[in-house]
Structure formats: structure tokens, C-alpha cells
């Protein structure tokens, strides 16, 4: 490594007051803020979930629409992707580029499967005969469930999609020959984001889906 490069690295990871890298503090602050984003969306959904049920005299039994087996499967896939992510972070810390690549690839594929399931689910909910749960109505009657459901899960899906693009960025970068343990912290931040998006789904899945079967 040339002196200039060593120097640049020095500046890349400056000494901090807490010893925690700046980017990690930033990421934690962002995740704290993101909690409030999802908190607002989930509250909106919970507030409307029952109140809206009698509009137009059309009681909504969302269990007729939900495909709980599919969602359980995609939930499992998303949770499993977190394992790949953790392994990718561990691999880059050890400087094992080949392993990092494969683990990133695994995370991307599992993330993509989750997104594909969500696309199928949304399409199925809107267009399958007997479902017809749209943004504004259920079986032709005005309804709020579709509004809160699609905007909440859609926002989560957007987070997953951003994560997938971020990971693809890392995968591409790993082939430029410039990736090294110096990037481990940046990959770790990406990992923090990915795990957070997973955790949010761990809340959404019971609150939005499973609860409909219990209460």
C-alpha cells in the first residue's frame, strides 16, 4: 500500500471521541428515526383496523384475502437473509473476499424472493376474483384497510428494495478489486440497515397478519 493510500485511509477512519466510527453513529441515529417512521405507519394501521370495518355495512374479514402460508414463507426467507448478511459482515472483517461475495449474493437473492412474494401478494389481493382489496376499497365498497395495509407494507418493501440495491452495489464493487477490510465498517452499516428492516418485518408480520387470526 502506498503512503498516499495509507494516508487516505487514516482520514477515512478518523479518531472519534467515543471510539465508535462516525458512520455507525449516523446509522444508529437514522435507525432511531426510522423507528418513528414505521411507528407512525403501524399506529395508523392499528387505529383503522377495526374502526373502519363497518363502513358501507361491509364487514371485512381480511382472512378471506390474506394468503398466510405465502406470507409465512416470505417472512422465513427474509429472516434467513439476515443470517447471510451477518456472515457477509463477518467475512469482510476477516478479509475473505470470496466468502463475502457469496454471502452478499445470498442476501440479495433472499431479499429478491421476499420482494417477489410481495409483488405477487399485492397483485393477488387487488386482482384475484373475490379479493379486490384496493387502495381505497374492498369489493367495491369504500374502505380504509387497503390504504393502511398497502402503504405500510409498501413502505417496508421499499426499504427492502433499497437494501437490495445497496447490496448489489457492494457485490459489483467487490469485483473492481478495490474492496478490502477497510470497507468492513461500511458493509457493517449496510448490515445494520438490513437487520433493522428485518426487525421491522418481525413486528409487522404479527401485528398486521397474525393478529387477524387471533383477535
Amino acid at each position: 500500500m502506498s503512503d498516499a493510500a495509507a494516508h487516505a485511509l487514516d482520514h477515512h477512519e478518523p479518531v472519534t471521541s467515543t471510539g465508535i466510527p462516525n458512520k455507525k453513529v449516523l446509522m444508529w441515529a437514522f435507525l432511531g428515526s426510522d423507528c418513528m417512521f414505521f411507528g407512525t405507519l403501524i399506529s395508523t394501521h392499528l387505529i383503522y383496523r377495526k374502526i373502519s370495518a363497518t363502513v358501507g355495512g361491509n364487514f371485512l374479514d381480511i382472512r378471506d384475502v390474506f394468503d398466510i402460508e405465502l406470507t409465512s414463507f416470505s417472512t422465513f426467507i427474509l429472516l434467513a437473509s439476515s443470517l447471510f448478511m451477518a456472515l457477509a459482515v463477518s467475512a469482510i472483517h476477516k478479509g475473505n473476499l470470496n466468502s463475502t461475495r457469496w454471502m452478499l449474493f445470498g442476501t440479495i437473492i433472499f431479499g429478491a424472493i421476499f420482494l417477489a412474494c410481495q409483488v405477487y401478494e399485492f397483485t393477488h389481493f387487488v386482482y384475484a376474483p373475490g379479493n379486490e382489496l384496493t387502495l381505497s376499497s374492498y369489493r367495491g365498497e369504500p374502505h380504509v384497510f387497503g390504504s393502511t395495509f398497502y402503504v405500510l407494507t409498501g413502505t417496508h418493501g421499499t426499504h427492502v428494495a433499497i437494501g437490495v440495491f445497496w447490496l448489489i452495489g457492494w457485490l459489483v464493487y467487490s469485483f473492481t478489486g478495490k474492496m478490502s477490510t477497510a470497507d468492513a465498517m461500511d458493509v457493517e452499516c449496510c448490515g445494520l440497515y438490513w437487520h433493522f428492516v428485518d426487525i421491522v418485518w418481525i413486528i409487522i408480520f404479527p401485528v398486521v397478519y397474525l393478529m387477524e387470526y387471533a383477535f
Binding site: H11, I51, S52, S136, T155
Partner: protein, 647 residues
């Protein structure tokens, strides 16, 4: 330990670090390109401040139009709709485009200097925050030129005023501009706050412990936390509203199962912390100014900070006091009433601390001190009426009357704006290197103080005798005329005072005849006063090692062991990051995306709704390219070799 690790392993005589992939504008950039690509927190702070002062004049003109309309009964200076647009734009402009960015200007310029840092943690992100703020301001004011003109929904945008079916003008775009500009401004605030939090937590100079930080920096930290926790609520509320207006969802649509009440909750969950986001920076400024001009350390430093934190924390638990008349039920109403009364305690603690600081001090009445005293007295009046509102029956009487207008203008002008003007008079010598004209400053204070009280004190009375707020005109025979005329005269005096003040601030940068300020013209206490005025681009020639609170004061008057030291020079000089185009490019992309979203829908010849996302997607692609280039351009930078005395 920190000193050791700052030494580099091997000597390096190169002054230019190679860029990772793409070159960045060089250190010799000057003129317009320099300002567009700068990532220096001081220049960004100045641009924030200048843009906000411009919007202050815009919002002020809107206020004067409102006051002219209310001069007498049944006036027709403005039509009904124009009047509604004026108070909407006035409120939105003053909150989001004036007070918040003026605070951000001070955060940007001062906070790194106060903690002994050379810049914020993420300088390019700071620039992105600036450009998002500028785009947000432009988007809001572009609304004047399109269908329906600017929004006429109040700065709170209550549902169902925002429902497309109730629009006064068919296809009214005002609320859409309002939604998207607030999203942009929210993004700007969030980016800045993440940055400030990281900077304060992580980039303090050696020895600068949390409890040695200046109070202003503490308030920056608390306000940043408030912003990152409060803004998501309004962002999501606005997303839901955008879906309602654009894609026909039913979040706030009471005809189809939605609840307008939810909007009020989400808005005020953001809106009440926002009140503290507006006032805490001014409190931080005043906490710096009063000790300097009383020649005493701040009385109860720890308590001032702790009560600031308590105010911030409790600020999240009082939002429903804006909604006492909506019928939330006895339990909720009582709980919010009690919490609102309690929040007066930490506020009162601060006021007593300021008084305690002045007690027995050798007080100098320079312009900054006058504004600080104006702040305390006027903010107290606003605070007292605030405590009145915490009582539910009184609040029910005051709801939507001019009494409320009087209350929050005492908090936001007498409080926040006086505090920010105090900050300008105090720190502009540091920013420009020139002393402002004291006589003119005192004249501005006199005009503002008299004008402000003439305008807003009568409003208490007007509210009590029943003049409703947000109402275009009033009939003869209510006895409103006299007090309204006094208020209108006062508002013009206040407007002239503010205009002269703004002129004085801007001219300080250009007027070479003003006295040079020197390092520490006020004999002030905090670290930024150890640097030359204006501050050099590298801030500190050598990193300071902090030994005490009020370090500048200790260096001059304290015992030897409290004097700050400097980290040893190394032969590398000061590493400076290069400028970058990509924050601007990313913000321009976002701006285009917003414009694309605003105009994506149209009705074709057969009356069908057509959605065309080409422009929005193009904007998204541009900002994505901006972000990718940003992450690839790498650290880069150059080295400066300042002499000690050039600090």
C-alpha cells in the same frame, strides 16, 4: 492517546491525495462554483442564514398584507382566498423557511467551532441538507404560479381542508406544493440533524467532555434529537395525505371511513416538539450571551442543560393540548393538561438561571444583551399565556381566537426571533471580522421591541373580546377596529425594524468601514472566541486540548492549569476535504423528481386520467447518479500548513 493516534505512521510530503475514481473541484476554486460546491460548514451556515433572512422578508411582507387587510372592518385589501393563502404561506414560511434554517445556520457555523472540530462529521451531507432546504423553499413559493395559487389550508393543513373534493378552485395544486416542499424541508432537517448528532457525540476535541460543552452546543444536540424523532410523524402524515390526494386512499377521507382527527394527532405529535425545535436554539444562544455581558459564568450550567433535555423529552407528551376542543375524552384531556402544566417547570428553571446569572454581575447593555433581555421578558409573557392554555376550560374559550395568535407570536418573535437576532449581533463579528454599528443595533432593537408589543399585545384583548383568528374580515360594531389599527401600525414598525436589522447583517459582510472585531471583542467565554475573525477555513491550526468549561475565558483569566493546550504540530499539515458537485446534483435530482410528481397527472382529450412519470423518474435517476458518484469520488483532499499565529 488521541494525540498519539493523530501522528501518521510515515511522513508524506504530497499535499494532494488522489481521488478514488472521479476528481473533485480543486482547492483553488473560487467565486460561484466555490459556493455551489463548498462543503465548509461555515459557508454552508452562511448560505443557510442568508436564504433564511430572504424568506424572513418574504414572510414579513405576507404578514403586513394580513395586517393591512385587518386595518378596519370589511376591508378588501385581499380577497377571502388570498387572505387564507397569506396566513398559510406566512405560517409555513416563518416556521420552516425562517426560524428553523436560521437556527440551522447557527448550528452549522458555531457548533464545530465550539467543540473544537474542523468540520461536521459528514461535510457533503451537510451541503445536501442546504440544497434540499433551498429546493424546498423554491417549491413552496412556486405554488403561487400554478392552478389555485398557493395553499389556502393553514400551516397545519387540517383534514378535510386538504381533501381534493372540497377545493375552492378545481384542480387546486397548492396543497400538493405544500406537501412536497415540507417533505424536502423535512429531509433537509433530518440530514442536518443526523450530522450534528454524530459530530457532537464523536468529534469533540480532546478534553471536551460532554459537561464542558457550551450550552448552545447542548441545545444543538437536543434539538437534533427532537428533529429526528419528531419529523417522521409529519413525513408519514404527509405521505398518507399525498396518497389520499393523488391515489385516492381514504386515510383522512371521512366520507369513506377515514378520520380527519388522525391528521391532527399526527400533525401535533410532530408539531409540538417542533415548538421546542424552534425555541431551544434561541435559549441556547441566550444562555451564551447573558454570561458574557454579565461577566459571570452561567448560573446552574448543569440545570440549564438538564431542563433543556427535560423540555425536549416532555415535548413529546403534550401534543394533544392543541386539540382540547376536539373531544378526546376526560382522561386524555386531563393527562395532557397536567403534563402541559408540568413542562412549565423546566422552562421556569431556565428563566431563573438566566436571572441568577445576571444577579450581581457587571452587566453591559450592548445590542446582543438587549435582545437577550428582550427574549427573557417577551418569552415569559408568551410562556404565561401558554400556561393559561394548559387549563382546559380556558383553552376552550381561547381556541381559534386572536389570544392564541398573541400567545405564539410572543413565543416565536419575542422568543425565537429575538434570540436569533441576539445571536446575529453577538456572532456576526466572529463571522465577518467586523463590529456592527452599536447605535444602529440599538435603534433596530428599539423599533422591534416597540413594534412587536404594539402589534401583539392588543391581540390578547382582541381575542378576549371575541375576534376569531384566520378570518378574512370582521363586521362593524364589535369594537375591534381601534386595537386592530394599533396592531397594524405596530406591525409596520416591527417590519421596518426587521428590515433594517437584515440590512445591517448583510452589509456587515461588505461594509469595509466597520471597525475590525479582533479575536474576542466581547470578552466572551467559549472556544470559538480563541480563533481569528472571520474564522479561517481550517478552523484550528492545531487541535486544541480542552481543560475547562468556558475555555476562552479560562485562557484569559483562569489559573494556569485551566489554560487550553494544543496538540503538537506534525509535518502533514491540516487535511482539508475537497469540494464536491454531487450534493448539489443529488438535490437538483430530487427537485426535478418533485416537479415530476407534482405534474404527473393530466386529463386527456377523452377525459381519462393519464399518469406520466417520465420527469419524476428522470429526477430520481439524476439523484441516484448523484449518490453513486458521491460514494465513488472518495475522500481526496489537500493539505494546508497554517502558522500558529494564523489561527
Amino acid at each position: 492517546m488521541a494525540i498519539e493516534s493523530l501522528k501518521y505512521a510515515s511522513p508524506d510530503t504530497e499535499t494532494k491525495i488522489e481521488a478514488k475514481v472521479f476528481p473533485r473541484p480543486s482547492q483553488y476554486t473560487t467565486g460561484l462554483v466555490d459556493w455551489l460546491t463548498t462543503i465548509d460548514h461555515k459557508k454552508i451556515g452562511l448560505m443557510y442564514g442568508m436564504a433564511a433572512l430572504f424568506f424572513l422578508l418574504v414572510g414579513g411582507i405576507e404578514a403586513l398584507l394580513i395586517r393591512s387587510q385587518l386595518w378596519s372592518h370589511n376591508m378588501e385589501v385581499l380577497t377571502n382566498r388570498e387572505y387564507n393563502q397569506m396566513f398559510t404561506m406566512h405560517g409555513t414560511t416563518m416556521v420552516f423557511l425562517v426560524i428553523m434554517p436560521l437556527s440551522a445556520a447557527f448550528f452549522n457555523y458555531l457548533m464545530p467551532l465550539q467543540i473544537g472540530a474542523r468540520d461536521v462529521a459528514f461535510p457533503r451531507m451537510n451541503a445536501l441538507s442546504l440544497w434540499c432546504f433551498v429546493s424546498g423553499g423554491i417549491i413552496l413559493n412556486l405554488s403561487w404560479f400554478f392552478t389555485g395559487g398557493s395553499p389556502a389550508i393553514g400551516w397545519f393543513g387540517y383534514a378535510p381542508l386538504t381533501d381534493t373534493r372540497f377545493a375552492e378552485v378545481l384542480g387546486d395544486m397548492g396543497p400538493d406544493f405544500w406537501i412536497f416542499s415540507l417533505q424536502m424541508l423535512g429531509l433537509a432537517s433530518l440530514l442536518a440533524s443526523f450530522n450534528f448528532i454524530t459530530t457532537i457525540i464523536n468529534m469533540r476535541a480532546p478534553g471536551m467532555t460532554m459537561m464542558r460543552m457550551p450550552v448552545f452546543t447542548w441545545m444543538t444536540l437536543i434539538v437534533s434529537f427532537l428533529i429526528i424523532l419528531a419529523f417522521p410523524a409529519i413525513t408519514i402524515a404527509l405521505v398518507e395525505l399525498m396518497f389520499d390526494r393523488t391515489y385516492g386512499t381514504n386515510f383522512y377521507d371521512f366520507l369513506e371511513g377515514g378520520k380527519p382527527h388522525l391528521w391532527q394527532h399526527l400533525f401535533w405529535i410532530f408539531g409540538h416538539p417542533e415548538v421546542y425545535i424552534l425555541i431551544l436554539p434561541a435559549m441556547g444562544i441566550v444562555s451564551e450571551v447573558i454570561p458574557v455581558f454579565s461577566r459571570k459564568p452561567l448560573f446552574g450550567y448543569g440545570l440549564v442543560i438538564f431542563s433543556g433535555a427535560i423540555i425536549g423529552f416532555m415535548g413529546f407528551a403534550v401534543w394533544s393540548h392543541h386539540m382540547f376542543t376536539t373531544g378526546m375524552g376526560v382522561v386524555a384531556t386531563s393527562a395532557f393538561s397536567i403534563l402541559t402544566m408540568l413542562i412549565a417547570i423546566p422552562t421556569g428553571v431556565k428563566i431563573f438561571n438566566w436571572i441568577g446569572t445576571m444577579w450581581g454581575g457587571r452587566i453591559r447593555f450592548d445590542t446582543p444583551m438587549l435582545f437577550a433581555l428582550g427574549f427573557i421578558t417577551m418569552f415569559m409573557i408568551g410562556g404565561f399565556t401558554g400556561i393559561m392554555h394548559s387549563s382546559v376550560p380556558i383553552d376552550a374559550q381561547h381556541q381559534d381566537s386572536y389570544f392564541v395568535v398573541a400567545h405564539f407570536h410572543y413565543v416565536l418573535i419575542g422568543g425565537a426571533l429575538f434570540g436569533l437576532f441576539c445571536g446575529f449581533y453577538f456572532w456576526l463579528p466572529k463571522m465577518t471580522g467586523r463590529m456592527l454599528n452599536e447605535k444602529l443595533g440599538k435603534f433596530v432593537f428599539t423599533l422591534m421591541f416597540i413594534g412587536f408589543n404594539l402589534t401583539f399585545f392588543p391581540m390578547h384583548y382582541l381575542g378576549m373580546i371575541g375576534q376569531p383568528r384566520r378570518t378574512h374580515s370582521y363586521n362593524e360594531g364589535h369594537g375591534f377596529e381601534t386595537w386592530n389599527q394599533i396592531a397594524t401600525i405596530g406591525s409596520f414598525i416591527l417590519g421596518i425594524g426587521i428590515a433594517i436589522g437584515v440590512y445591517q447583517f448583510v452589509s456587515a459582510f461588505f461594509n469595509k468601514r466597520l471597525k475590525p472585531a479582533g479575536k474576542n471583542p466581547w470578552d466572551a467565554r467559549t472556544l470559538e472566541w480563541t480563533l481569528s475573525s472571520p474564522v479561517k477555513e481550517y478552523n484550528f491550526a492545531r487541535n486544541p486540548i480542552i481543560k475547562a468549561r468556558d475555555q476562552a475565558w479560562e485562557n484569559n483569566y483562569g489559573p494556569k492549569e485551566n489554560h487550553s493546550q494544543k496538540e503538537p504540530l506534525d509535518d502533514h499539515g491540516v487535511h482539508m476535504p475537497d469540494r464536491s458537485w454531487y450534493p448539489l446534483l443529488t438535490a437538483v435530482g430530487l427537485f426535478v423528481m418533485v416537479i415530476g410528481m407534482l405534474f404527473h397527472a393530466s386529463i386527456d382529450a377523452s377525459g381519462e386520467l393519464v399518469r406520466n412519470y417520465t420527469v419524476a423518474v428522470a429526477g430520481g435517476v439524476v439523484s441516484t447518479i448523484g449518490i453513486i458518484m458521491w460514494s465513488l469520488e472518495g475522500p481526496a483532499g489537500y493539505h494546508l500548513f497554517p502558522k500558529e499565529k494564523e489561527e
